[in-house]
Symmetry: C2
Subunit: 227 residues, 2 copies
Amino acid sequence: MKITDLIGTIPLFEGLAERHLDDLAMIVVDQKFARGQTIFSEGDEGNGFYVAASGRVKIFKLSWEGKEQILHIFGPGEPFGEVPVFSGQNFPANAEAMEESRIFFFPRKSFIDLVRENPDLALNMLAVLSMRLRRFAALIEDLSLKEVPGRLAAYLLYLSERNEGAQRLELEIAKGQLAGLLGTIPETLSRVLGKMRDQALIETEGRRIHILDMQGLEVLAETGGRL
Amino acid sequence: MKITDLIGTIPLFEGLAERHLDDLAMIVVDQKFARGQTIFSEGDEGNGFYVAASGRVKIFKLSWEGKEQILHIFGPGEPFGEVPVFSGQNFPANAEAMEESRIFFFPRKSFIDLVRENPDLALNMLAVLSMRLRRFAALIEDLSLKEVPGRLAAYLLYLSERNEGAQRLELEIAKGQLAGLLGTIPETLSRVLGKMRDQALIETEGRRIHILDMQGLEVLAETGGRL
DNA sequence: CGTGGCCTTGATAAAGTTCAAGAGCCGTGG
DNA sequence: CCACGGCTCTTGAACTTTATCAAGGCCACG
């Protein structure tokens, strides 16, 4: 598949004229990253942004002691690392490939020129950033206002929703990573899953999770959740 | 002062041509809110966004039990409530005037038209949203990776920085509100301030805080902070 | 002078983390 | 084919941090 065609399938670039897609294809840098490889680190100078073409990327913050809080997990078609492009300054977090990934890099300057000429691209990008703010607001709410069971319940419901309300789910990430996403540690996550099992909210079998009591989970997620 | 001139002083609209400022003046709605009055609530339909002209506004999330997590406090010149304009959907949080405030409201549709014609405005808005993402990332880091003393230390250093490194600070918000901003409750904040006092990091006198040991606070903020 | 808002302090309880140990699983290489 | 080492995950016990509940102090304002 030619690179122009690939770029055309990226939602961010939806509605762009052919010639603009060609412009993008001209400036793009096509990169490969191995599992565990760093794409950028907090504090690095950000002179461009990225779009995942294949694979998965996690964006995360690290504490002094090494605990990690995952901010996002991005898959194919999703842009990341845009903040420094528009705010100046450096990357506010770290990015690492979770598996073998192909990543497109778009240099800042040419991209800004493109945005300048192209209102649709600007609006698309505004929509992307707005969605991201919305998600962050939800994450802040979870971290500050809910306890771990509530966050986990919310996450499971989110997964279920993404699968047309399926009750049989398969985690696409390791439990340790999920802990980092929920703002806790693997031990706590394990215990909370155990309690949910005790209360017949779910059944678990490795990465497979079977939701037994959707309503119960909803109550947990809404109330922030004591088990 | 005429409304066009006021609008011209808003950083978001910096660099706009005279005629575009006039366009804005045409579509703006000038509103007044009393202390404690709701500007919008989470879930409301967002068919426009706001800029504070005077006064102060807090953006916050509420938990089921009524605990509040403040996401932002905005003062004169700062825009808020833009997320629904670009992402569609509703407001992700609540907004309330903290004091008598004059607020400009810009209806969505005409504003989008303006963005479409005006790349500089688009880039300004992208910069605003990017800065906001950066701040959210920092808040998430604080909530998840630091303990209350670390967050408080970071906040005090931030205040100091905003005052050219001054060691004598005055909180511009009530301590109860500060607790909401730091993701804790007034009792805990009070105790942490007490401990910092015990350790000669600060002196307090009502809303006045005198930093005695800047370095000590920096260590606290970096390490996430056990006192 | 009393009332209400805001802040502080103490005792208690809950939630989460830490530390330590061990179970299960998987791919590699003998 | 099996044993080994390296992961990830689970479980338990002690400990830390923070929230909750309750009471009292301080201050401004009517």
